[in-house]
């Protein structure tokens, strides 16, 4: 799954490229994707991104891993557009989603969170004038990335605890203990941040 912070170390040109430039290209690609109105253009763009995966030394499995969580969504979209608007439109829509997911994955796989956070801090620089501390914003982004796997683990623990006691899936019986655990975790995290000198 494309959990942020899944950086794969390497020394390729893509790894060495500045994080700001990679993010800019990604944003540009997102904006420019509306221009990709023919299946051929979309295919070429996807091909270019796939070459990027090879250049970065990530292998063929990496793009597949990026797309796997979206298989159902992509399949459903494809069928929907095939029925409603025919195959050229269907390939363009699904191809564009694939393109953007792969491109975003390529950036996160080749860029350290620290580097992404530095870009965020820089972009937030002008906000200093209205009293926003860019360093704080950067810290929040990093903490957010760190919390994703923690919350997933907490959710798994809650689900396992329910199963162990033979409870069938009930949204409330899931949400309440998860929220309690998440709050407890946030408490501990806050304390750890203070102990580790966050307010210095």
């Amino acid at each position: 799954m494309n959990v942020l912070g899944s950086y794969v170390p390497g020394t390729s040109a893509l790894h060495r490229a500045p994080a700001g430039a990679k993010l800019a290209v990604l944003v540009g690609l997102g904006a420019g994707s509306v221009l990709l109105q023919s299946p051929v253009r979309v295919a070429v763009a996807v091909g270019v991104v796939l070459v990027g995966y090879l250049v970065a030394g990530l292998g063929w499995r990496a793009p597949v891993d990026q797309l796997r969580p979206l298989v159902w969504l992509l399949g459903f979209t494809l069928v929907f557009h095939l029925v409603v608007s025919g195959w050229p439109r269907a390939t363009v829509v699904v191809g564009t989603v694939v393109l953007l997911v792969l491109a975003a994955g390529l950036v996160t796989l080749t860029t350290r969170t620290t580097a992404l956070v530095e870009v965020v801090v820089k972009l937030c620089g002008p906000l200093r004038r209205i009293g926003v501390d860019p360093e704080r914003v950067g810290l929040m982004v990093a903490l957010g990335v760190r919390c994703v796997p923690v919350v997933i683990t907490l959710a798994e623990q809650v689900r396992d605890a329910q199963r162990a006691r033979g409870l069938t899936a009930s949204p409330r019986a899931f949400a309440v203990p998860l929220v309690v655990r998440a709050l407890r975790h946030a408490d501990g995290l806050g304390e750890a941040l203070v102990a580790r000198g966050v307010d210095d």
Binding site: G5, Y7, R146, P149, G188, A192, V194, A195, G197
Partner: protein
Amino acid sequence: MLIEVTGVSHRYGSRTVLADVTVSLDEARIGVIGANGSGKSTFARLLNALVVPTDGRVRLDGLDTARSARDVRRRVGFCFTDPDAQIVMPTVAEDVAFGLRRLRLSKAAVADKVQAALTSYGLDGHADHPAHLLSGGQKQLLALASVLVTEPDLLVLDEPTTLLDLANARRVSELVAALPQQVLLVTHHLDLLAAFDRVLVFHEGRLVADDAPAAAVSFYRGLLA
């Protein structure tokens, strides 16, 4: 460091969790034991100003935790039971680097220190791994590395081995034993304290024994009998 706790009581709401504790400590290895809820963690948190007592004073080398919390925290490292709660950055190297922010070092100096810390705590080769993929023992080693890289004078550990298996608990405790720093260790693993200089026993918020390890442990066992 000289730890001076004078007439300290602490209440959460109307509940007294520490009652009139006075103790002065400067030994290199100090243990803290007691039943669940006896106030050990609260006592440990006093020492780096995570808890400021409702009554009394806590001073470290003369620094009052109520007034100089930041200076105290710079010199007192704290390691919690649950490594997941204290690893705050996404990858191993980033987490170790986090504590160094306040030293305002150059990037190269930070990278050197991080690398050295990872090597000495057996995390070499994990630098760019996401922290959540480490095992429980490795996470606790990372938590320790991240605290020790800042070179505190005193390291306070609140049950660092409680969530670990035997092998990892031994690794962590051997590592702690070899540290040049002064250590205050809260634990339920009584055998870790055998070589300690002094052991405090808490019971229902009171400091009820303060002795050599063997005597303190047998006093603690007597309380439960």
